[in-house]
């Protein structure tokens, strides 16, 4: 049996931290920071995900094999999203998007 490191106070602390981060994210969205907004919001989401993964999902007390799966999943998604988004963001020599006149909406 695994020795339990995740205790009730830690669970309550994590819950409060998640709520604080949620309202922080909400508050920052009201400031209207433009371009940086998406990056900040997603960074806060990543922090929240770590809290959920390590405390709520007990990753902190599990074997490395389980952590390896999480690390690989993160890497694959980062690769997938980064390479996909790199296409529309770096278009310079050909139209950035289809011409709406050529394909009007129904």
């Amino acid at each position: 049996m695994i020795s339990a490191h995740v205790t009730t106070p830690k669970l309550i602390g994590s819950w409060i931290a998640l709520l604080v981060l949620t309202f922080l994210s909400f508050g920052i969205s009201l400031l209207g920071l433009g371009e940086a907004e998406l990056f900040i919001a997603l960074s806060i989401s990543v922090v929240k995900t770590f809290v959920v993964l390590f405390i709520f999902m007990h990753l902190v007390e599990q074997r490395f094999a389980n952590r390896l799966i999480v690390i690989l999943t993160f890497l694959f998604i980062a690769l997938l999203v980064a390479l996909t988004v790199a296409d529309p963001l770096t278009r310079k020599t050909f139209p950035p998007r289809p011409d709406p006149a050529a394909n009007p909406y129904p």
Binding site: A41, V52, L80
Partner: protein, 210 residues
């Protein structure tokens, strides 16, 4: 209470539990990649149609979205507490917490249902069914299509998670799980936390950023 049965291919119960947990993490990894493909298409189309996309998302109710975020985070907390107490052999308490989490899942779906009803009323529907604004700027329809697809897929996961939470809650109450046997409860909890993590990303992408 029934003791956990050791199946033939494992030497010890500890190894058997580790295999069950590892398999759950692998399943969650593949689930995350399913959503990952949708997040990639979100990034692609948002990069292609920045203004139209944001215009579609502006119409979502931030108040309802934030309410749902708080509801799901709290449900994740009660699930984590439930798993904690079943390990300490407090089966009735764990059953109550898991049932409470199921109820939070239902609250989430009701709030989401109100949002969907509002969108349907305005004909802000995906793809070919869209007729909210006659001549939408390019990207608005794509924004709504991804909104519906991603939130509906997440909603299906909420329903699946609620069914599993309800089942383990009943089995906890009946005394099937306890200190001697709790991997199934842990794994259902892991699934529910994944549902929470997906929403933690859907919320800023569809409600907050502009």
């Amino acid at each position: 209470m029934s003791a956990q049965r050791l199946v033939e291919q494992f030497e010890t119960l500890e190894k058997q539990d580790h295999a069950a947990r590892l398999a759950m993490w692998m399943f969650l990894g593949s689930e995350t990649l399913l959503f990952g493909a949708l997040f990639a298409s979100y990034g692609y189309y948002r990069g292609m149609y920045p203004s139209g996309f944001v215009q579609a998302l502006h119409h979502n109710s931030v108040a309802l979205g934030t309410t749902n975020t708080v509801v799901l985070i709290t449900s994740s907390f009660t699930v984590a507490l439930g798993v904690h107490f079943i390990r300490e052999n407090k089966a009735r308490l764990a059953a109550g917490l898991l049932a409470l989490s199921t109820a939070f899942g239902a609250v989430f779906l009701v709030v989401k249902g109100f949002e969907y009803a509002h969108h349907i009323h305005e004909n802000a529907l995906p793809a070919g069914m869209y007729s909210f604004v006659d001549q939408p700027p390019a990207g608005v329809v794509l924004g709504y299509t991804l909104y519906w697809f991603m939130t509906a897929l997440h909603g299906l996961h909420v329903i699946a998670g609620m069914i599993m939470l309800a089942v383990v809650a009943v089995l906890c109450w009946k005394g099937r799980y306890g200190t001697h046997r709790y991997v199934a409860v842990e794994n259902v909890g892991l699934y529910w936390h994944l549902v929470d993590v997906v929403w933690i990303f859907l919320w800023p992408l569809f409600y907050l950023t502009d």
